[in-house]
């Protein structure tokens, strides 16, 4: 599909960059709320081509990073229950809980399976009728339909050995919580393209309307992100915050009603605990009463000792953008990419890991 391949044609970047550099906005901070954008910005080196007055911030948009130790400990406890086989996405394996990561739980001999899809988790349940397959479901709105579909299908198939432990979260309450804290000064928001695919571009209208912030929904190619930055700067320059959708090849104003409808049929909103933010009401996706049979927490009631965050780890503040990684006492000493204490050090794009890799020999990252 040449038209999609063309989005990777980096020669198209130069004119957009030229425009960005010509915009007259004064110092601005633009924030994305999406781990995929964090990765794309990191991999394409976008920060290094921005003019000095444009600062790119990563908000709490990575479902791995915002998962609390209490939730991780619950997954570990479930994995250790007799006859349980825990399945989860590869992203979660290395993330440290209060005492251990799922990789360490697996090394102790408990069955922890990495799956690419809930389809594979369902398949595990069919392949192991004598085991209880528990899917540890992380993710935001984009990923929730896959979990909802799996529960829906498990019920339709009368599958009695499949359940999920949902720690899934909603982006918008998270974004509101961050903005309401008022700690971080943000001038514009890059809207998460794939979350918006499900909930629709219009779901972000509250940003210009209630917070006076421009928002630009963006895809994940470097060109998409550059165009989104330019759209934000243009709106800031004009003093006219609005909603811009540069990802119209995927994202509709109303989103995917089928997928979102399924999510809302299977899950209801409840309080969720976010690392670095604490409890945020109405921000978690919990199984509805009629699907209680597929709720691993209700089915197995895992006993979890009191969870604790590492006392010195400041991932929460790093996630909120109020401290830089080296401000944390354990950064680079006790906490390294090979032995992460907090989730910001886990994946190479995490704020602390990215900072760590850059700083082996260089000055301050841009």
């Amino acid at each position: 599909m040449s038209v999609l391949a063309a989005f990777r044609d980096s020669e198209r970047a130069a004119p957009i960059l030229e425009r960005i550099r010509a915009r007259n906005t004064g110092p601005v901070s633009l924030m994305e709320f999406c781990g995929g954008h964090t990765v794309a910005i990191f991999r394409s080196g976008i920060r290094s081509v921005m003019p000095e007055h444009v600062r790119m911030l990563s908000g709490p948009g990575c479902p791995v990073c915002v998962t609390s130790n209490a939730d991780l400990d619950r997954a570990a406890a479930l994995a250790k229950m007799p006859n349980v086989l825990l399945a989860t996405y590869g992203d979660m394996l290395k993330v440290p809980g209060s005492k251990e990561s799922l990789a360490e739980v697996k090394a102790q001999g408990y069955p922890v399976h990495i799956v690419y899809s809930t389809l594979d988790a369902l398949r595990l349940a069919h392949e192991h009728p004598d085991k209880q397959v528990v899917f540890f479901a992380i993710g935001f709105e984009t990923t929730a339909p896959a979990a909802a579909a799996a529960v829906f299908q498990a019920r339709a198939q009368g599958l009695s050995n499949f359940s999920i432990c949902s720690v899934m979260k909603l982006t918008i309450p998270g974004a509101r919580a961050l903005l309401d804290m008022g700690e971080v000064r943000v001038h514009g928001v890059i809207g998460p393209g794939h979350v918006s695919t499900i909930i629709g571009a219009d779901a972000w209208r509250f940003l210009p309307e209630q917070y006076g912030l421009p928002v630009a929904i963006s895809g994940f190619e470097p060109l998409d992100l550059l165009a989104a930055v330019d759209a934000l700067l243009e709106m800031i320059e004009r003093g006219a915050p609005g909603l811009s959708n540069g990802y119209t090849r995927i994202v509709k104003a109303e989103g995917n009603r089928m997928a979102w409808g399924l999510v809302n049929a299977v899950f209801e909103r409840g309080t969720a605990t976010w690392r670095g933010f604490g409890e945020i009401p109405e921000s978690g996706l919990l199984l509805r009463e009629e699907y209680a049979a597929f709720d691993a927490d209700r089915r197995f009631q895992p006993e979890v000792a009191a969870s604790s965050e590492h006392p010195a780890c400041r991932c929460g503040e790093v996630l909120r953008g109020v401290v830089e990684p080296p401000d944390c006492k354990v950064y680079g000493t006790v906490c390294t990419p090979d032995h992460p204490l907090g989730p910001c050090m886990v994946s190479s794009e995490g704020s602390c890991a990215a900072y760590y890799h850059f700083h082996q020999g260089a000055a301050r990252p841009h």
Partner: protein, 336 residues
Amino acid sequence: MKHSHILLAHGSGGSMMHELIREVFLPAFDNPYLRRGNDQAVFDPPGGRIAFTTDSYVVQPLFFPGACIGDLAVHGTINDLAVGGAMPLGLSVGMIIEEGLEVDTLRRVVNAMRDAAAAAGVPLVTGDTKVVERGSCDKLFINTSGVGVIRDGVNIDGASARPGDVVLLSGAIGAHGVAVLSERKGMHFATPVRSDSRPLHRLVAAVLDVSTEVHVMRDPTRGGVGTTLNEIAAQSGVGIEIDEAALPISPEVQGACDLLGFDPLFLANEGALLAIVPEQHAAAMLAAMRGREEGREACLIGRVTDSYPGIVRMRTGIGGTRVIPMLTGEVLPRIC
């Protein structure tokens, strides 16, 4: 063979072990060294310095698109010698077999080793077999060691990269990693990508024929090109800057990476050569590489710098810069 599966007795040292050697190993690996039936292979002293290396192979699954544990074990050790500038003289083979392995499976692996050794022109000169109880290993582990001779004037060392040198890569990356991952349990994807497992000693010889002045050579296996370049940058105390647009990545490898969230820079290769050489030799060495099948897509991917010592940086497609870290942890599919 009387049995269809390997029994513990096949490792006992008695008549059943002799049967296994006689029926499976000897017909495949037959050469004058082995035929003597001694506990060691004996060589006349060769001219030149000696290179010696060892590697163990525990790949799961045993067979994957393009290769299997057998040819991988032959190629891997040949390549570890080759990237030191050595021409391999011979390899040893140690096999640890799990009780219950099908003899036919063992035969397929052994035959793949035979074919790989013959194609490379490197004999398997001595060997050993052990059988362990079911559950004590995963089907079959292979260790190969190798001895080679380094030609005069060659002094390849991971600490020898110098600012001003250029980084050459023999061809497309990531194929082995994708091929093996596609066969892993629970992955459920199909790919036309085949492992690039192949011997590199002739490619290395072609480069050294241009000039013996090669500073560093490596075959970027586990951890991929990204990790290998970091090792060199650290060992040599230099910076390395590579160009994203110059990296050879096939659309098929890129497609698998896009689906599963892998970075081709961190996927394993088993038939790729990284060479860091003085710029003045680059053009002739590239031409020499391209003259061979295994180096047909050879290209210049970057430079060694005196800025940012110990760090590998990449010039991205849009003209930005990013740091390429070492791989941490294992390569896993990701959703974000």
